[in-house]
């Protein structure tokens, strides 16, 4: 969680979130995602990017194309070096927010993804991995 991979996109400003979600859109289009699937993964990326920026003190995202042998998908890995999340179950609840937002970021991003995994360590950071299969 310390150093960012070479192809990671930074998430430190609100402009960088826009750049990251446009990069996600391009990859989703290249993979032949339907318009609804493109919109879902781009929206999930926007929510998780904002979380990394606001709560994680800025982080980064890596975009990978993955395959399980039958189908292709897009995997996004969000990492930040922020304070971490003490109670993940609570943070995943709809409407729970520590930042004055609507509290839909994590729970909403999970609903918009095919697979969702979150790990967090206090004072080290948070890592969220989402995958959307075509």
């Amino acid at each position: 969680m310390i150093s960012a991979p070479a192809d990671a996109l930074p998430l430190k400003t609100s402009e960088q979130i826009v750049i990251a979600r446009q990069a996600v859109r391009r990859r989703a289009v290249e993979l032949g995602f339907s318009l609804v699937d493109q919109t879902k993964i781009v929206t999930a990326a926007s929510e998780l990017g904002r979380n990394a920026m606001q709560h994680g003190g800025g982080g980064h995202v890596t975009i990978e194309v993955v395959s399980d042998g039958f189908r292709k998908g897009l995997r996004l890995v969000f990492e930040d070096t922020g304070p971490g999340i003490a109670d993940i179950a609570l943070a995943m609840k709809d409407g729970y927010s520590t930042g004055g937002g609507l509290g839909l970021g994590l729970s909403g991003a999970k609903r918009l993804s095919s697979e969702f995994a979150i790990t967090s360590e206090p004072n080290v950071g948070t890592r969220v991995v989402i995958t959307r299969w075509k």
């Binding site: 400003t13 609100s14 402009e15 979130i17 826009v18 979600r21 446009q22 859109r25 318009l35 609804v36 493109q38 919109t39 879902k40 781009v42 929206t43 926007s46 929510e47 904002r50 709809d94 937002g101 609507l102 839909l104 970021g105 729970s107 909403g108 609903r111 918009l112």
Partner: protein, 129 residues
């Protein structure tokens, strides 16, 4: 500084969001629109989002805030032109935009605004009961 233009037409304010908005730009639009409603005594606000390819919880909240603030300032807001893929995603995200009036396109949105203005004027003619 980067800003989304607000056009005044008669008693209405018109906004067409044509860029992929970052959060500060969305907040700026919310502030600008609220001051403009008070400044121009606008009766209606029409926001066209047909060019938006994504509405996340931040933009959704901005639209809900604009609708609520304009109501307090005696103006009606209508959001028009949401793309179907955006609507599907927004609901799955957990936002239903309760309290925000919507219309399929600009034309229907304008009809909605003028209908509610006519209704308000009729109410005024009747006077206090």
């Amino acid at each position: 500084m980067e800003r989304i233009p607000i056009l005044k037409m008669g008693g209405y304010l018109l906004v067409s969001i044509q860029v992929d908005m970052h959060d500060r730009l969305a907040m700026q639009l919310q502030d600008d629109l609220t001051s403009k409603i008070a400044e121009t005594c606008a009766q209606g606000v029409l926001i066209d989002i047909s060019s938006l390819e994504m509405v996340d919880s931040f933009i959704g909240r901005m639209l809900a805030n604009i609708a609520a603030m304009s109501r307090v300032l005696d103006a009606e807001t209508v959001v028009v032109g949401m793309q179907p893929a955006v609507a599907i995603t927004l609901v799955e995200l957990g936002m239903s935009l309760a309290g925000v009036r919507t219309a399929l396109n600009v034309e229907r949105g304008m009809e909605l605004l003028s209908a509610s203005r006519d209704a308000a004027e009729r109410q005024d003619d009747l006077g206090p009961r």
